[in-house]
């Protein structure tokens, strides 16, 4: 994550301005390979390293939670320039202010847990 610059605020900003292929290349190549991996696991009934079947849980059908949740996430992603994976990469890289983002995102998750039942899902 660090070496590919996907943890860089600048790259996220650039991505949302459509001025570079870099981030789309990362996400795109991951998804293309990911589809191949998941479809092969399903078709060939590949078992895990422990010999158990690999189960994929389909996501619950809905529009509102994914759309609204997604928009809120996107606003934060662009503002803080980091999503939940790279945030931790940046801690390791030594950027201490990212801790503010992490603590706030834990608090955001906590807030969701509190108001969850009042939101459309």
């Amino acid at each position: 994550m660090f070496k590919s610059e996907a943890a860089s605020w600048f790259r996220i900003y650039e991505m949302f301005r459509f001025e570079s292929f870099h981030m789309y290349g990362i996400i795109g190549s991951t998804v293309v390979l990911g589809v191949l991996i998941v479809q092969s696991i399903k078709r060939f009934k590949v078992r895990s390293f422990y010999g158990e079947p690999i189960v994929f849980t389909p996501k619950a059908k809905s529009v509102s939670r994914y759309l609204f949740g997604g928009i809120i996430f996107g606003l934060g992603w662009a503002l803080a320039g980091a999503c939940p994976g790279p945030m931790f990469t940046l801690v390791g890289a030594g950027f201490t202010p990212i801790l503010v983002v992490i603590v706030a995102s834990i608090f955001g998750t906590f807030l969701y847990g509190i108001v969850k039942n009042k939101l459309p899902h």
Binding site: L33, S48, K61, Y66, P97, G108, F110, L111, Y112
Partner: protein, 185 residues
């Protein structure tokens, strides 16, 4: 060796991320980073305030190990595998950022205006980081996943909900950068 020290191109890191997902599937787990934020809430005792946090977090321990790995990866990447952290973003992007007041565009890994220790004495910068984090945490749980859970795991499994979520990510991101940034910077 220079190949390692220079920034890694997308066609290296994309497949590496897919490989991480493959390994997690092969040990019977799924790839999703934001679930850890919920786990951390539970560890801090949030189960007392909402049932949403009442679950056996120890079953999620493996995912915290992934977080730990991400921290170590960031440390190694930044301290041992890089000699120049500046990011070669598009010249037009740099120019726009300069007009917004981000002088560090094109010369550093993260904007020093937000991620230098100086931000701890800068209320506006702190608020930006905190609000950004808050939205990420809230939105990720509301949508049931983040970039890894929806854009990567979900799309790989051809899930419609994940496509809707990714569409939402972009509506939010584009709104922030094109409509809200000019107002706050």
């Amino acid at each position: 060796m220079n190949i390692i020290y220079a920034p890694w191109p997308w066609y290296i890191s994309g497949p590496l991320i897919a490989f991480v997902m493959f390994l997690l599937l092969m040990v019977g787990k799924s790839f999703g980073m934001s679930s850890n934020l919920r786990t951390l809430c539970t560890i801090c005792g949030a189960g007392n305030t909402s049932d949403f946090f009442k679950f056996d977090w120890k079953a999620q321990k493996w995912n915290l190990v992934v977080v730990f790995g991400a921290i170590i990866g960031g440390f190694i990447g930044a301290h041992f595998l890089s000699n120049d952290l500046a990011i070669a973003i598009h010249p037009d992007t740099i120019e726009t950022l300069n007009t917004l007041g981000f002088e560090s565009a094109g010369t550093s890994y993260l904007p020093t205006e937000l991620f230098d220790v100086g931000v701890f004495s800068n209320l506006k910068g702190l608020l930006i980081l905190a609000i950004g984090g808050l939205l990420v945490g809230f939105g990720a749980r509301y949508a049931g996943g983040c970039t890894s859970g929806h854009a990567i795991s979900g799309l790989s499994n051809l899930q419609w909900p994940s496509l809707i979520a990714v569409l939402g990510f972009f509506i939010g991101g584009l709104t922030m950068i094109h409509l809200i940034f000019p107002l706050i910077f």
